[in-house]
Each structure stands twice: as structure tokens, then as C-alpha cells.
């Protein structure tokens, strides 16, 4: 029983981080209907910049995180402005393939800049463990990560409900033309979504690094779990991201412990294919009915 509870706690922690890592992906899809295959690179680049700022340049950690987030925002803006804006109105096929190309290019650049060796994990996130109840304990870094994830998600929810930009973003996601007629600058909203995705990527990347004990390209393999999460939760649902992240996080922990590592690596993708077959728009995704 203790083992089960322990796994549950770990799984929920990982799930929260996974949800955070996925958030940027969903934001971009919601606003621009682009499936961004380069989201994993956003995580890697954001976290490596934080590492550089903190360790190499010796900045204090809050500043380092800010630098990382700024770098993520700049990256997102640059990609939107230089590449994706030219493709507005092109077929979704070419847009997807552009993000695939982008993922490959960014990965190559990351390899050239930072090399393939893992870097030690950030010092500023405490790494001790906290006793919860009974014999169940949880790493302080996981608790931190969950706390940050909760804050970010509440902020995002409020943003979509209350702020002008959030409402404008939902309007664009709903119907671009109608939004334009209302005087919303669709270009600006697109840029905004990419910037947010970059920022979310940086935050998610740092937290991922903290539970994986270091910055490394391992992040990449964790980052591909983004796809099972979004498909399970629904591509355009922020709530779905949270629920999907939790479910995948739990399942990975359970299978890793009760079965083996291989099963835990495959299972999310088996779920992905199954969900596509049974309930293609996910748990919370909006069902799209096409009319000619």
C-alpha cells in the first residue's frame, strides 16, 4: 500500500510538470491551430539558458529564471515572426512540416551550443525529501514543481477568463474572421501565443531538469510525452492538459514500478493510438464537425 501511495505521489508530481510542459503546445494549438513539433526544443533551450545564466554567468537564480523565460519569449516571437507568419493560410500539412524542420534545426543548434553531456541540476530548488503521511515521502523538488505548476495554471485560467488578451485569444481560436471583424489583431495574438509557449517551455524545462537530476538531452525523451498528454486531454483544452498530464504521469510511474521501464516508455504511445481510435478528440477536446 505504501508503495502504491508513494508511486501515486510521484506520478502526480511528474504529471503536474508534464502538464506544464504541455501547456505551451496547447496554447499554440488553441490560438493558431498549429501542431508545434518543436515544443520539446523549447523546453530544452529554455532550461539550458537558465543553466547558463545561473552557473556560467553566475547570476542569482531568480534572475537566471527570468533570463530563461525572456529567452523563451524571444525564441517564440522570432519563430512566429520570421517563419510562421509567412505561412498563414497555407495548408496545415506544410505548417506541420515547417515545425518538424524547426525541431530538427533547433535540436542541431542545441547540440552544437551545449553539447550532449548532461549538466548538473539547478541548485536553487531544494532536493531533500518531505514526509507526507505514513512512510510516504516526496522529494522537495517535486513539491516545488507542483506548486509552480499550480500557480501557472491558475494564472493561465484567470488570464483566459478575465484579461482582455485572454478573451481575445479565445475569440481568435474560436473564429479568426469574426475576431478580426471585432478589431482584434490576429497577428498580435499569434505572436502572443508563441511568446507564451516559449515562456511556458522555459519554466517547464527548468522543473523537468530538477526532477530528472540535471539538464540533459533526456529532457527530449520526456518531452515527447507531450503528445500522449495532449491527445488524451484534447488538443485544445487547458483543463485536458492538466488531467491528461496527471493520468500519463501516474500510468508511467505505476508501469515503471510494477512492470518494467520498457513498458512505461511504450504505454503512453499505445494509449495515444487507442485514444485516436476510440475518442479522437480526447477527454476534453472540442469535437469538430466539418461542413463543406
Amino acid at each position: 500500500m505504501t508503495r502504491f501511495l508513494q508511486l501515486t505521489v510521484n506520478g502526480l508530481g511528474n504529471g503536474a510538470i508534464l502538464a506544464l510542459a504541455t501547456l505551451g503546445f496547447v496554447l499554440i494549438y488553441k490560438a493558431t491551430e498549429v501542431i508545434n513539433f518543436a515544443q520539446g526544443q523549447f523546453l530544452v533551450i529554455g532550461s539550458f539558458v537558465v543553466y547558463n545564466a545561473n552557473v556560467t554567468w553566475g547570476l542569482p537564480w531568480p534572475l537566471a529564471v527570468v533570463v530563461g523565460i525572456l529567452a523563451g519569449i524571444l525564441l517564440g516571437l522570432a519563430i512566429e515572426r520570421v517563419i510562421l507568419r509567412r505561412l498563414v493560410g497555407e495548408s496545415s500539412l506544410s505548417v506541420i512540416m515547417v515545425t518538424i524542420g524547426l525541431a530538427s534545426a533547433l535540436f542541431g543548434i542545441v547540440l552544437m551550443t551545449w553539447g550532449a553531456e548532461p549538466k548538473p541540476s539547478p541548485k536553487f530548488i531544494p532536493s531533500g525529501s518531505v514526509k507526507l503521511f505514513g512512510d510516504v515521502s516526496v522529494g522537495a523538488n517535486r513539491l516545488w514543481a507542483v506548486a509552480v505548476a499550480v500557480v501557472v495554471f491558475v494564472a493561465v485560467a484567470l488570464f483566459f477568463q478575465r484579461s482582455r488578451h485572454g478573451v481575445a485569444m479565445r475569440a481568435v481560436a474560436d473564429d479568426q474572421q469574426a475576431a478580426m471583424v471585432q478589431g482584434i489583431s490576429v497577428n498580435r495574438i499569434f505572436a502572443f501565443a508563441w511568446a507564451l509557449a516559449g515562456a511556458a517551455g522555459a519554466v517547464g524545462g527548468v522543473l523537468l531538469a530538477s526532477i530528472n537530476n540535471g539538464y540533459s538531452l533526456e529532457l527530449e525523451s520526456f518531452a515527447i510525452l507531450v503528445f500522449p498528454v495532449v491527445i488524451l486531454g484534447g488538443l485544445d483544452s487547458v483543463l485536458g492538459t492538466v488531467v491528461g498530464g496527471m493520468i500519463i504521469g501516474l500510468l508511467v510511474e505505476y508501469t515503471k514500478s510494477y512492470m518494467n521501464v520498457n513498458a512505461s516508455q511504450i504505454l503512453p504511445f499505445v494509449i495515444l493510438v487507442a485514444i485516436l481510435l476510440v475518442k479522437p478528440y480526447g477527454l476534453f477536446g472540442q469535437v469538430r464537425i466539418e461542413r463543406v
Partner: protein
């Protein structure tokens, strides 16, 4: 199938033909001569790259049928190359079947697994399918890595060189002729596929799937079929490649290789079977060339191994940039550039 500028077909027969002008027949003959002369003029190092191009070309034609003509993306080409390779290696090693049967077996297994991962096509549209193939790649690569039954517990497994009529095929020179014939047949079949009803139906699905459904194309079934064909051809290429290289390791079938194939068809030109071959050639020669240049640099000066050390990274970055650049500036790739050059010269000095 847009009609080329300055070509006037006066008979139905000529209109339906693959080649419309005498110049095209002349080019075909030239190409034939080139293909015959080539292996006598190249050294073994470059000839092995030609063989790799021919191998890649088979899978690229499959992906072109799927992406360029049906409008679906596969990010799992490498996974299915692996299915073919492991399939034939296991069949020939364990059952001691001859190599052609092994290759056939690998192809059929790849096509069957491809159909399974194509099944979501019955429920969802293009974008989601890309993610399904992404999952296929993740699952397959993981299986190659850690499935003792498949690899008999070894890091890599061996595939034998084929025997034809009691003669062992082993040199690049002999392989060249075998692969040339096979790839030519695949290209021929691919080009002609789009003159059949099935091929036209695939194009209709790409252009407007709802309209295609309305005029009676079974969209879901044809999408799964297209998937199956693409994966089968990838498996075919992988199986041949296994016997060509004689060693099968999982590292060769990772995401990067799948990206490479996507890059091939984009660079070659979406919607052109010959483009798949141009792309395969481009994406195989360029890295080989970079490697050569890198080696030259290393020998020339004392300490610039950067390009060697970072070669995989440089290749990845370059492929990415090439994909993005082609999609932004010439979405129809090298095939379109070639087409435009032909149009320009055909009626020179006039514009149209």
C-alpha cells in the same frame, strides 16, 4: 498533372502518355546511358553512396505516395525501415528461407503494422495522423532496442548477403545493378499508380477529402491503404538495406532518420515521384560531401575537428534549415525547379 508550358497534345494517346515530347524520350535514353556508365566511373566509396540513394529512394517514393499525393504525414519511416530489416533478418536467420522470401516477409509485416497505425485515419484528419505515426516511431524504436526475442539478446543482428543463381552478391558493383533494377521498377510503378483510378482517388483525397467522399471515394479505407503502401515500401527498402549492410542495429531507425525522409520528399518536391528520387539523392550526397570536406579540413590544418566532432549536430541543423527554407521559398521542391527550367527553355525566347 498540370500541362507543361508549350506542349500541345494533338492525340488522346499522347495526352495520356507519361512523356509528351521527343525531348523527354531523349532524356530517358540519356538517363539510361548514365545509369549504365555510372558504376564504371565511380570508386567504391561513392558507389556505395549511390546504392544508399537507390535504397532511400524506394522508401522516399513510398512516403511521397503518402505525403505528396494523399496529403498525410508519416514520421515513422525509419520505424518501418526497421520493421523490414528485423523482419527479413529474423526470417532468413531462423527459418533459413532464401533472401527474396525474407525481404517479401519483411515488406508484408511492415505493411500490416503500417495499416494498424493508419487506422486512426478512419476517425480523424491529417494533423492527428502525424501524431499517430509519431507514436508508431516511438513504439517501434523502443521495441528494436529492448526486445530480446527480436534481437536474440544481442545488440545487433546479422543479415546474409543474397545469393542469386548460386552466385553470392557482395560487392557494391553487383549490388548497384540489383538495386538499380528494383528502384527503377518502384519508380515506374509509382509514376503509373497515379494514372489509375486508385491513384487519382488518392489525389482527390489530398485536394479535398470531403468532396472525394461525396463522389464515391472510400476515403477512410484508401487512407489506410496509402499508409500501408508507404510503410510497405519503407519495409521493403529496410529489408534490402539489411542485406546490403549485413548488420541490423536499432540506432539506424530513430527519429532523426524519419526526419531525414520527410526532408527528402520536401526537398525533392511534394507531388512528384521523381522528386522523391531527387530528394533522396540530395539528402544522401550532401552529408557525404560534408563528411568528405570535414575530413579534408582535418588533414589540411592541424586543429579544426569542429566540423567532424559536431557532424551529427550540423547535419540535423542543416536538414531542419533546408526543410524550412524549401517550404518557405519553393514548396514544390527540386522537381518544380527542374520543371520551370524546362518550361523556360522549351519556348525560349518567349515567356509563356
Amino acid at each position: 498533372m498540370a500541362t507543361a508550358t508549350g506542349v500541345y497534345n494533338t492525340t488522346y494517346r499522347r495526352d495520356l502518355g507519361l512523356r509528351h515530347t521527343k525531348a523527354e524520350y531523349a532524356r530517358l535514353a540519356l538517363l539510361g546511358v548514365f545509369a549504365v556508365v555510372l558504376p564504371f566511373r565511380l570508386d567504391t566509396y561513392w558507389l556505395s553512396y549511390v546504392n544508399l540513394i537507390l535504397l532511400a529512394g524506394i522508401a522516399a517514393v513510398g512516403l511521397m505516395i503518402l505525403t505528396g499525393y494523399t496529403g498525410l504525414i508519416s514520421l515513422a519511416t525509419a520505424g518501418f525501415l526497421g520493421v523490414g530489416a528485423y523482419g527479413t533478418a529474423n526470417i532468413t536467420n531462423r527459418l533459413h528461407w532464401p533472401m527474396p522470401l525474407g525481404v517479401l516477409g519483411g515488406t508484408v509485416i511492415a505493411a500490416a503494422i503500417g495499416a494498424v497505425f493508419g487506422l486512426p485515419a478512419l476517425r480523424v484528419k491529417g494533423l492527428y495522423l502525424a501524431i499517430s505515426t509519431f507514436a508508431a516511431q516511438a513504439i517501434l524504436n523502443n521495441r528494436f532496442k529492448d526486445w530480446p526475442w527480436l534481437t536474440q539478446g544481442h545488440f545487433s543482428i546479422l543479415a546474409n548477403q543474397p545469393k542469386i543463381g548460386g552466385h553470392q552478391i557482395h560487392s557494391d558493383f553487383e549490388w548497384y545493378w540489383l538495386l538499380l533494377v528494383i528502384t527503377a521498377l518502384v519508380v515506374w510503378a509509382g509514376v503509373n499508380l497515379f494514372r489509375t483510378g486508385f491513384g487519382r482517388a488518392l489525389i482527390a483525397i489530398r485536394d479535398q477529402d470531403i468532396a472525394a467522399e461525396v463522389i464515391g471515394v472510400p476515403v477512410g479505407r484508401y487512407k489506410v491503404l496509402a499508409f500501408s503502401i508507404a510503410c510497405g515500401l519503407a519495409g521493403f527498402s529496410g529489408a534490402l538495406g539489411a542485406h546490403y549492410r549485413t548488420v541490423v542495429t536499432w540506432e539506424r531507425y530513430d527519429f532523426d532518420t524519419s526526419f531525414l525522409f520527410v526532408a527528402m520528399i520536401i526537398v525533392g518536391g511534394l507531388g512528384s515521384v521523381s522528386g522523391a528520387i531527387y530528394g533522396a539523392a540530395f539528402m544522401t550526397w550532401v552529408p557525404a560531401y560534408i563528411t568528405r570536406v570535414g575530413q579534408g579540413l582535418q588533414q589540411g590544418s592541424s586543429g579544426t575537428p569542429f566540423i567532424i566532432r559536431e557532424l551529427p549536430a550540423i547535419q540535423l541543423a542543416l536538414f531542419g534549415v533546408v526543410i524550412v527554407a524549401f517550404l518557405l521559398y519553393e514548396p514544390r521542391g527540386l522537381a518544380r525547379l527542374w520543371q520551370r527550367a524546362k518550361d523556360y527553355f522549351r519556348i525560349w525566347p518567349f515567356r509563356y
